[in-house]
Symmetry: C2
Amino acid sequence: MSQYRTFTADDAVAYAQQFGGLADPAELVRAEEIGDGNLNLVFKIYDRADRSRVVVKQALPYVRCVGESWPLTLDRARLEAQTLVEHYRHCPQHTVNVIHYDAELAVMVMEDLSSHQIWRGELVKNIPYPQAASQLGYYLAQTLFHTSDFYLHPHKKKEEVARFINPQMCEITEDLFFNEPYIGHEHNAYPAQLEEDVLALRHDDELRIAVASLKHRFFAHAEALLHGDIHSGSVFVAENSLKAIDAEFGYFGPIGFDVGTALGNLLLNYCALPGLLAPREAAAGREQRLLDVKVLWLAFVERFQALAVEKTRDVALAFPGYASAFLHKVWQDSVGYCGTELIRRTVGMSQIADMKTISDEAMRVECIRHAISLGKTLILAAPHVEDIDALLARIRQNG
Amino acid sequence: MSQYRTFTADDAVAYAQQFGGLADPAELVRAEEIGDGNLNLVFKIYDRADRSRVVVKQALPYVRCVGESWPLTLDRARLEAQTLVEHYRHCPQHTVNVIHYDAELAVMVMEDLSSHQIWRGELVKNIPYPQAASQLGYYLAQTLFHTSDFYLHPHKKKEEVARFINPQMCEITEDLFFNEPYIGHEHNAYPAQLEEDVLALRHDDELRIAVASLKHRFFAHAEALLHGDIHSGSVFVAENSLKAIDAEFGYFGPIGFDVGTALGNLLLNYCALPGLLAPREAAAGREQRLLDVKVLWLAFVERFQALAVEKTRDVALAFPGYASAFLHKVWQDSVGYCGTELIRRTVGMSQIADMKTISDEAMRVECIRHAISLGKTLILAAPHVEDIDALLARIRQNG
């Protein structure tokens, strides 16, 4: 059994030579550490022709951006690798391929995605990827349906729930999504000008009860093996290609959490665009984002529905009409979790490039204010928004 | 480590001498096997003065009433013992005390409850236990609150969910509650005269979708450590005392399943009483059962609410008003699961003494017909029945 040590660039090259599954491993010569996340070392491994060939990712035993004072379990590397392996099994075209992983070293070797870009960066630059929204919806349907009670044998499902309990990573979500933005907390990172808006969240009883309910469902509703953090920074895109990465938050939770996170990042970009682009481009970009929201949801729901008809194995859940009824609950959950994503990304700790890139300070504050307001609206409206068109109408109403 | 062998009466005595925690173990001299359930050997262990002193319960590796052709995991003995230990921790006054258990032998030693009677038998004879309904509501609140996300640390909760996965026993419930009564199945045991009533269940689309949703919640909603089978045959009563036993179906599931099962058994008795008693006594008994239903629910909800105010440890779920909002969902779940209990005990495999004791055949059929009809009404009405008084009104309407 291997013993944990933090990899150097040379370690990463040697590891990729051994476990990268390449026909010409001796060609690998150097590694570049590119981790811009908070939790891991990420090495691109290059060959003699200076082409990157595979990626080596290693979990660090603490939160990187905070330091060793915030320790974090290495078991998340196992959870990430196993989540990606499961998702790849059901949606290879949109899940990064894990070539090898080692739980003790908390390391995995993955396919190189240098031909792709992180979607968030492209959204910030308003570069269109016409297939991305439908591809992400398809990914969510494939991965979530096949790990749900519709498809898994009940014995297998229960074993999988136990295999994927993820206490430490879930705790981060539990705190960052559902606690900190709604109480005074040192992690919060909103502009001082928005103090009143943030205080209004704290003092909105109906909102706080709705957020408690969303947190409770995040705790208790083991509906499917979630990605757990499927924001636009966890998605690589290229022309007609999309790949999900970074699944260390994977666990069995409510399907609407994944769907809502994905929708929320499109809406965060929607709120940010007036600060990123000239007015005419911003208006067109925003229309595109709303279309993306609609396309993502419809791609998800249509694919899930089709899978339910074709492949449901549970005799009771297969009854005609049940999948639709369930998907309506998923819809309500999705709208609510979408709202929490908007608020945790603006009020809370995990600020995003969409907003940070806005150079005009006043404009940035207004865009953030809009996202907070929209987030609140969505959380409160979630049980009442009938369908995707009603959602888009609400979003337009909100400004 | 001990190795599994089926206990003889002598084995049971020797085991009780060793592990019964008695000051005078040598006094134990004989065992009587009293298991009337389907799954286990149950020995009462007597001393020289012919007083029963402790109970030894051993799980058999198959379903007793069917035989060795239906094998069943011995791990259920661990799950039962651990569920009872957890419940005893939070409600010692209403949970049988497990003195010792051994996972390998699938055996446990429990306190003797010879001073008590099985509640179902007393209900059949219409013998009043004025405290029983409120005590059972209290037991449900204590055990379910303290194993829920309101109280358990999120790390601990996730570990407990994994420790208590119970695939084989859950599968029995999944089949017997949610599948077999709604499809043609050889296990079903309703009177031939009710074929049309049963066919009507199968062909009621709205009902089938509602049952699918209840099954899905049984699969996925890990709200608290349930007893899992808290019918009136799993409850011992005496004057001013109540003890829950038989927790081999324990797992983390929807709180409303336990509450609904408990309510359902009172209503099954309500439906049976006209066949068990003379008209005037039956009418009075039925009023008492409806009062029991109300008292049980109110005792549960008031105690859960009080615990939520005093002892909720999760900062978001502690927000004032959230517990009430959640308990309204528990209410809706309870009404739905109550309906499935009525149907699975009449249409399905697990027939009950309340009905079987009715000697007049035509009357027995009518009582069963009433229970099926009420079960269907409750499943369909569950999302719309506002509160306990509205439920009682519906029950009276139903006849």
